[in-house]
């Protein structure tokens, strides 16, 4: 996906529930209004675990 793009927009475009992930850029947590560039390495980390 080409940048620049806001974190919140990226998550929405990927159809991911924002409550179920954290977005990490270059190893650092970033909030929804952060702008991501083409050169950024971005991890969308799931946070939901299902152990029961």
């Amino acid at each position: 996906m080409p940048g620049p793009v806001l974190v919140s927009v990226l998550v929405e475009r990927l159809d991911i529930n924002r409550e179920s992930v954290l977005v990490v850029r270059n190893g650092m947590l970033v909030p929804g209004d952060e702008r991501l560039e083409d050169t950024d390495e971005v991890e969308i980390r799931p946070v939901i675990s299902g152990g029961s």
């Binding site: 924002r18 939901i48 675990s49 299902g50 152990g51 029961s52």
Partner: protein, 342 residues
Amino acid sequence: MKCRVCRGPAVIDVRRHNANFCGDHFVRHCQEQVRRAIDDFDMINPGDRVLVAVSGGKDSLAVWDLLLGLGFEADGLYIGLGIGDYSDTSGSYARRFAESRGLKLLEVDLPTDHGFDIPTGAKAAKRVPCSACGLSKRYLFDRAALEGNYDVLVTGHNLDDEAAVLFGNTLRWDVDYLGRQYPVLPSRSGFPKKAKPLVRLTERESAAYCLITGIDYLVDECPMAAGNRHLGYKELLNDLEVRSPGAKADFYFSYLRNAASYFRSPEGAPTAELGECGRCGAPAQGELCAFCRLQERAAAVAVDAPRRRTATTTDSVSAETTTSDIAASHEQHHDSYTGGSQ
């Protein structure tokens, strides 16, 4: 976004609090939420010896770290469940956390110490793996806490876990389970006191706490939990949360405040009388406790396996009796979910 407290750059937004936080103030927010849960529900008293059930995942490591940060004395307990590489990996995360901080980590290995693993136990019980896993963990947690003379057994259940369990119990209007769902359960004969200090934090907050504080945890989900009902409930509740921030907390804490008392017995414990397991002495409804019966059936499955490769007979384990085993395990005065699998 700016931090609500210091106006510095925020790293996370917490919509249900209508707040953004920088790293330092987010950590403080988590500490305050845990402190408040402990105080509101009288979870841990000063000087208590605490045993934390750790899986190597975010919630259990976060709660261990938070309790230590709040000044509590807390050891860890890791249970190897024999779920292939997943168990090997999760154990290494728990050990690294303990070693790097000089903490005491107790370990129990289900295959080595009790002769079966979760896949075999699930097959024997003819249930989904999460049922056999939950039953085994509850038993081993209780036993370790009692044998170690710990005052409180802590698990890493978070707000999402509790809201999802409440959602499932409410869908079925299961009044017995509803009566046992509470953030703290008192000790009684055969059971330690149990507490869930993360009930005021969501999974997203728990994961963010680990990222910000540098806790290295196992991100991968247990391969046996994929597609389970509990995960489905969490997805539904998160859909609701996006539309209405705070919905999960409202659902859970309004239940505790306004409805839980209708379902609980006066002592907060079930009224059914339990006997003693003839093999291990744990609380039991029949001659053996649910765990010892599971162990027996798992041994039978293991012995029968080679024979069945050439036979066409059906499994000799009765679905009816194994179902009652699971029900007996739920009879214990704790809810049916015990945090991350290992």
